[in-house]
């Protein structure tokens, strides 16, 4: 075990209860040799940031379909910063309109993957960008 294992938090912020996508991603990351902490649906920003802190993850991946990302993501990024976790790679997926992408990128959310993204691309992105 010379290579360090990448730890990823897969989180579902907000109120939508559809986590098929999150589970597919979690499974793909597992098969890519990563350790995936999955926390289940309906997570508040506080729960996500706290879990990221305690689990000392390298990556936070958020899946959201409810449209509340512009309200929830800034709060999560703020809390992560507050906890000193600025070096964590944050990626997001789900239903996120193109016009929101620049704003989210500016917040520090580096990868945004819409529906139909091959999981290989996400794995590759994480391998390249994780701290």
């Amino acid at each position: 075990m010379t290579e360090r294992t990448i730890r990823v938090l897969v989180a579902k912020p907000g109120l939508d209860g559809h986590d098929r996508g999150a589970k597919v991603i979690a499974r793909a990351l597992r098969d890519a040799g990563m350790e995936v902490v999955y926390t289940g649906i309906r997570q508040t920003p506080e729960m996500i940031a706290e879990a990221a802190l305690q689990e000392d993850v390298d990556v936070v991946g958020m899946s959201i379909l409810s449209g509340a990302h512009m309200a929830l993501f800034p709060k999560i990024m703020e809390l992560l910063g507050e906890y000193g976790m600025d070096d964590v790679l944050v990626v997001a997926g789900g239903i996120i309109p193109d016009e929101d992408v620049p704003t989210l990128n500016a917040l520090g959310i580096q990868g945004i993957f819409g529906p139909g993204t091959p999981t290989d691309r996400i794995v590759e992105f994480i391998r390249e960008h994780a701290r």
Binding site: M1, R4, T5, R7, A26, R27, L29, R30, D31, A32, G33, M34, E35, V36, V37, Y38, T39, G40, T44, E46, M47, E50, A51, L53, Q54, E55, D56, Y83, G84, M85
Partner: protein
């Protein structure tokens, strides 16, 4: 960097705790130094292990227990404490299996512990077993130490879903809770060796399902076979010795660490005051039976203290730990000294049936100047 981390852990800072656990988990170069600096500050927490088959409700039980203990008075948990109204701080380590194929893992125990989110007195860490087979990760015991040094009063360790033989937890925990569920097997399952033997407390979870009373009865019968608590408690000592002995592989008659370190007469002392593992029915999702289960854990802690077995167990733990580290470290050193070409040649000869693997390893080790067991025939050339 070590100094900052150690200082942070001792101050109970969550970021430092989390990073230090990662450090020991990845066995980085600074891990040993950090653990060495933390060691003097450990030994205060009560360590509770929760083990049982996959899907028996371990995570849900841990969630319910932690909620309960956070409401309980500290004085129950720490008789010596004078701050009776402060709830105990609880650290939780939840281990899930690593995929043998990809090396990855899905750590899902937090899903069942969402009630604990937002409570700053609770710290949850998920761990992948990373190839270790005994129900824990190699670094779990060290992660427990980090939480202990950080001032958590209670550390709950949830094992990988365990079948019959994953008994490492008994070497890490002070109190081992074995979770069973109705309908898993007949009475013979209950008298088989292994996981049931390490229980200090039994929880028959999902007790609202049919067959709960039968499961309780099967466990009770198994315990009654032991008749008196003396056997039962002796059992623990013996089990740990057996585990240590099979792993030793050295001369069985030479002085072993656990033998020289275990206080003389510890067995006899325990025979006077035995511990009968209680069986409690629980429905963790509805938080039924949790108070009784929690009380049983506290009663066991009390018993360990009163009977002097806490000291004895600490010594056993230290002996087992030392031995494991020596095993690990000597294996690493020996492997580093073995010549790759020589090894490959030996493997080939074993495959060709020119030599058997025992003789081959004897040759290899003797060539490194390591003597074999007494009475072992020297490797024929």
């Amino acid at each position: 960097m070590i100094e900052d981390l150690v200082e942070g852990v001792l101050a109970g800072r969550r970021r430092a705790i989390a990073r230090t656990i990662s450090l020991v988990e990845n066995d980085g170069p600074e891990a040993q130094g950090t653990l060495a600096a933390l060691h003097p500050h450990t030994g205060r927490a009560h360590i509770v292990g929760v083990t049982g088959p996959p899907g028996s409700g371990k995570s849900t039980l841990v969630n319910a227990l932690a909620l309960h203990f956070r409401k309980a008075k500290t004085s129950l948990l720490l008789p010596e404490s004078d701050v009776a109204d402060t709830p105990p701080r609880i650290g939780i380590i939840a281990v899930d299996p690593t995929s043998p194929f990809s090396g990855g893992a899905i750590l899902g125990d937090r899903i069942r512990m969402r009630d604990l989110a937002g409570d700053r007195g609770i710290f949850i860490r998920s761990m992948a077993s990373r190839g270790n087979l005994g129900g824990l990760a190699w670094a779990t015991a060290d992660a427990v130490k980090v939480l202990d040094a950080a001032g958590f009063d209670l550390v709950i360790v949830e094992t990988v879903g365990a079948g019959q033989a994953e008994v490492d937890i008994a070497r890490t925990a002070h109190t081992t809770v074995v979770v069973e569920v109705p309908g898993l097997g007949d009475d013979v399952q209950a008298i088989k060796a292994g996981i049931l033997e390490i229980a200090d407390v039994f929880a028959v979870n999902k007790a609202d399902l049919e067959g709960a009373d039968h499961a309780v009865m099967a466990l009770r019968m198994m315990l009654d076979l032991d008749k008196d608590g003396a056997q039962r408690t002796m059992h623990h000592g013996r089990l740990m010795e057996v585990v240590a002995r099979t792993g030793r592989g050295a001369d069985a008659t030479s002085g072993s660490p656990e033998r020289s370190l275990a206080p003389p007469g510890a067995g006899q002392a325990s025979a006077v005051t035995g511990w009968h593992p209680p069986i409690h029915k629980t429905v963790a999702t509805r938080r039924e039976g949790i108070v009784e289960l929690a009380d049983a854990i506290l009663a066991h802690r009390e018993y360990l203290q009163q009977s002097g077995r806490l000291v004895w167990r600490e010594r056993e733990r230290a002996a087992a730990e030392l031995e494991t580290i020596i095993q690990h470290e000597s294996l690493r050193r020996v492997l580093a000294r073995i010549d790759g070409a020589q090894l490959r040649e030996l493997v080939e000869r074993v495959v060709q049936r020119e030599v058997d693997p025992y003789t081959a390893s004897q040759q290899l080790l003797t060539s490194l100047g390591l003597q074999g067991r007494k009475g072992q025939t020297p490797a024929p050339e």
